[in-house]
Amino acid sequence: MNWEIKTVAMFASEALREGYLGAAGYIILGVVAIAGFLAVLGMVLIYAERKVAGHFQCRLGPMRVGWHGVLQTVADTIKLFLKEDIVPFQADKVLHILAPLFTLLGTLLVLAVVPFSPGMQVADVNIGVVYVTAVGGFGVLGILLGGWSSNNKWSLVGAMRAGAQIISYEVSATLALLVVVLFSGSLKLSDIILSQEQGWWIWRAPVVGLVGFVIFFIASTAEINRTPFDLPEGESELTAGFHTEYSGMRFAFFFLAEFINMFIISAIAATLYLGGWMPFHIGGLDGFNAVMDLLPPGAWFAGKTSFLIFVLMWFRWTFPRLRVDQLMRLEWKILLPIGFVNLIAAAFMVMFGWYYGN
């Protein structure tokens, strides 16, 4: 099957030949689409999280606002809009106001390259994987600034934890990403997806793919500060960690960024290891592949991503939290060595072509 990749950026550059106005229109379209998607996705994810949590905990979750509480997040958003925006006394005002924006910006920029389906992507950057890692690391800046500028020791402890944690786990996440880059031979996200037409890397690269996926998933969970790695927030330890002093919309920005990040790492993990929008194919079985193609690529992407998001929620409502030193030990003494060995193994496998469907 021939997949035709179309992105908003492509349309924009085509329109540029005819004039600036059309290109600007496309760019605005892309930005509005991302912003709208961000808001809607945030609400859907928060609702999903509360429902999942409710059912995990033998209760129903939100039930009152709208049918089965579907409007609960809308009501909460309105409440957050109307709340007073408090800046603590003697806080670094400028940084305090900027910090949540930085965090949100980091997630917003990553969304631009997430391939939803062949025809739905804002920009298909040729260094996609590098872009995702680089821009995704932007969020830590906001967290550090937020903790520092709040003029609160608890916030600062949370921010320092976040800084150490995110920077450490980024190393492992990147090593795991490189495994797929080696196999697919490209940094471009659409190329990586197309390289999985004969099967997803999680099983086409025997063992190495699975190990890489697990490492990436664990490291990314730590990177977005979710349980069991929610030390920067550490509700029972630091009250709310780096966003203790935030209220109203600025708190909502942190909150939104956290949930969008959850989507992003699920989407990236799905793209790299589970084929993204590529239907489940087994190289050689054309009949089977044709049946799988009946489902549109967008649905495949949505299914895989929601499954991974569900797993993340599952983690959150099951596991206790790690301790600071255990967190660092897990990264530097366990994940990182395994990640390196995995990368070297992957390199040999690519060199000798020891993978399925070669």
């Binding site: 949590a53 033998c58 934890r161 509700e235 029972s236 409502w317 596991f319 206790p320 939290r321 600071v324």
Partner: protein
């Protein structure tokens, strides 16, 4: 309290003098009085070096209500109603402690029906308290789900209490001379239903939290307190038993019908957070064993042996009795001058002693461990301050 605060200020000043360009600066944070994991209004001044806890100073008194002083202007029967406010998770056992002191002084022999119902109620209360502790412990460890599981199962016992007693938390059922009312006709059936329901649920508790590798990493060998320290602090209850001391008043100084039932006292090995956790889980099992033995053997008889409307007057003298609450030894000391009100009432509450073990065990552990240790002590703050 003022002594502690002033010495604290001196210590802050002394530390800043030592500051050199190469050393990191230690800093103080207030953990509480408003903090999610201090379980109320306990304030701890924590000296931190980065994440490492150097010193913990509990500052008490934020919920001091003068219950002992109030006791001097209440009759004995009235004072029982104060006791469910000191340690609200063991209301019935606290009732029992005061009632027992009065009965000892007034030399009232209780019949078996009263004693057995009291024992069943006390053990149900112990299960309920440990269920709540388990949930809160999970939450302090960062897992939110155990909290709701604990509450879900606790609700059943609370409903059983409500049916007989009428209250759910601040219960006044055990009175000097007997019980306030007879048990509800459904009581035995519902308790048996609960036991049948809860046994598999306890397995679920173990698979959800106890067996989790992260929890094991967090609690094993953390916050070790040896038996000698525990005794010197005056710790009692699961905190002391976890350190390896087989001290349980239900065995050592039996009251109620504890000398007639068969149960074990679980004892920990080294006194770390895991031992304290394990001891409490085992205690739930033992309490269920006790209830199982007694629930079918409630004899007939009167449930109140004193005239309820008459003011109780105790002969002159001092009286002391103690019970084993879910958190340790609750002692009630009464000085009577022969009037209908006590001259002085003193309560020896378990948490007041247990809380000081945090100062012994916490140094050089991390901030997260401090929360784990505090939670493993199972403090109820109104019980510390009274």
């Amino acid at each position: 309290m003022s002594v502690i605060v002033s010495s604290l200020e001196q210590r802050i000043r002394a530390d800043n003098l030592k500051e050199s360009p190469l050393s990191t600066q230690e800093y103080f944070v207030n953990m509480g009085p408003q903090h999610p994991s201090t379980h109320g209004v306990l304030r701890m001044v924590v000296k931190l070096d980065g994440e490492t806890v150097r010193e913990v100073i509990p500052v008490l008194g934020y919920i001091h209500r003068g219950i002992e002083k109030m006791g001097e202007s209440f009759g004995y029967r009235q004072f029982v109603h104060m006791t469910d406010r000191i340690d609200y998770l063991s209301a019935l056992i606290n009732n029992w402690a005061v009632s027992m002191t009065v009965e000892k002084a007034a030399k009232i022999e209780l019949n078996d029906r009263i004693q057995i119902i009291r024992t069943i109620m006390a053990e149900l209360q112990r299960i309920q308290s440990h269920q709540l502790w388990w949930g809160v412990f999970g939450m302090d460890m960062g897992a939110f789900t155990p909290f709701l599981y604990g509450f879900r199962d606790r609700e059943i016992i609370t409903d059983i209490f409500e049916e007989t007693i009428g209250a759910r938390l601040t219960m006044n059922y055990i009175q000097p001379g007997g019980l306030m009312f007879d048990i509800h006709p459904n009581f035995q059936k519902r308790v048996k239903d609960f036991l049948k329901y809860f046994k598999p649920k306890l397995e679920e508790y173990e698979t959800l939290l106890s067996g989790n590798v992260i929890l094991q990493e967090r609690v094993r060998n953390v916050g070790i307190m040896d038996a000698k320290t525990a005794i010197s602090i005056g710790a009692t209850g699961p905190v002391l038993r976890a350190s390896g001391v087989k001290h349980d008043l239900r065995k050592l100084d039996p009251y109620g019908v504890y000398d007639k039932v068969d149960f074990d006292v679980p004892v920990g090995r080294i006194g770390d957070c895991w031992d304290r956790y394990w001891v409490r889980i085992e205690e739930i099992k033992q309490s269920m064993r006790i209830v199982e033995q007694l629930i079918d053997n409630i004899p007939e008889g009167k449930t109140m042996l004193m005239k309820p409307a008459v003011k109780i007057k105790l002969p002159e003298g001092t009286y002391y009795s103690q019970v084993e609450t879910p958190r340790g030894v609750l002692g009630v000391f009464v000085v009577s001058d022969g009037k209908d009100k006590p001259y002085r009432i003193h309560l020896r509450t378990p948490n007041f002693n247990n809380i000081w073990s945090i100062t012994e065990m916490s140094s050089n552990w991390r901030l997260g461990d401090l929360v784990a240790m505090l939670s493993s002590l199972d403090v109820v703050v109104p019980d510390i301050d009274r």
